[in-house]
Symmetry: C2
Subunit: 147 residues, 2 copies
DNA sequence: CGAATATCAGTGACACTGAAATTA
DNA sequence: CTAATTTCAGTGGCACTGATATTC
């Protein structure tokens, strides 16, 4: 069956749309938004402090956007900012104990609920999807000048 | 190679993120936003007038959101609202000549740009991606009560 | 001085909910 | 009266650009 570019795109948007909605309702009780959660995980994965700019780069957003994101997480007490002793221009971000706990809690909750995104796919299917998405939309080349 | 659910999800978000950014810059010169474009296509595909509620359903958004979307398109002169003679509660939406032209222009521009979303994939890969996405995030079951 | 790093201020795009008006 | 359809008003999430302060 032939699938046009337009059709895939349409379905992709719809999927994104649903996933976002689901994430939002799933995460709301825990007091974090989807973007905040992604930022949290970025910090959690790197063990050790992470610079603001590093977070922005990993999330592929403008540095200014990372500031607001981290602001929210800081207000929620999930992460903390600290000065970098080696470079006083930069700000280092680390998880607070509450942040560590929430991250674990979330992983646990999702696993036991079996409610994860893409959870309906087999491991093989996930691998296929991963490789297809990797090829689909290559990074923007012209993205280093992001303000 | 094993791919975790978290990894696919992460990549999916990133892809969505890039696709959205690209769409926005591609469409901006033509005066429409990505969501507006999708709404425009929804009306274009159905030949004949479309009810507001139908648009909302097709885009999987709340009726109230469709109102604002259509507002923008109407202001841009791309679509027109008309009363439904058979049901005075409903509003019918049709493309204006300008809307028809822009739709054609848009299709043309995308084709010649060769830079389409998912254009790097082969037909077979698109079909695979399509079927995977279809399985990935089934509709929300509990979505009929959307306000 | 030029480059890097983070932040402040303002804006745009998008979808949601709750309440209201109109009509079936 | 109940249900359907659309709209009004307000809000939340998220990312952007331009300008600014500080530091390398």
């Amino acid at each position: 069956m032939a699938v046009t570019v337009a059709e895939v795109t349409e379905l992709f948007w719809q999927t994104a749309h649903r996933l976002r909605r689901r994430s939002m309702t799933d995460l709301a009780p825990l007091g974090v938004t989807p973007a905040q959660f992604r930022a949290l995980r970025t910090v959690a994965k790197a063990d050790g402090p992470v610079r603001m700019g590093e977070i922005a780069a990993r999330l592929d957003i403008a540095p200014r956007s990372a500031t607001s994101l981290v602001d929210g997480l800081e207000q929620a007490g999930l992460i903390a900012r600290a000065a970098d002793p080696d470079n006083r221009r930069s700000v280092l971000v680390v998880l607070t104990p509450a942040g560590v706990e929430l991250t674990a809690q979330l992983a646990q909750a999702r696993k036991s609920a079996g409610q994860q995104a893409f959870g309906k796919l087999t491991a093989a299917e996930r691998a296929t999807l991963f490789s297809l998405l990797s090829k689909a939309i290559p990074p923007d080349a012209d993205r280093s000048e992001a303000n």
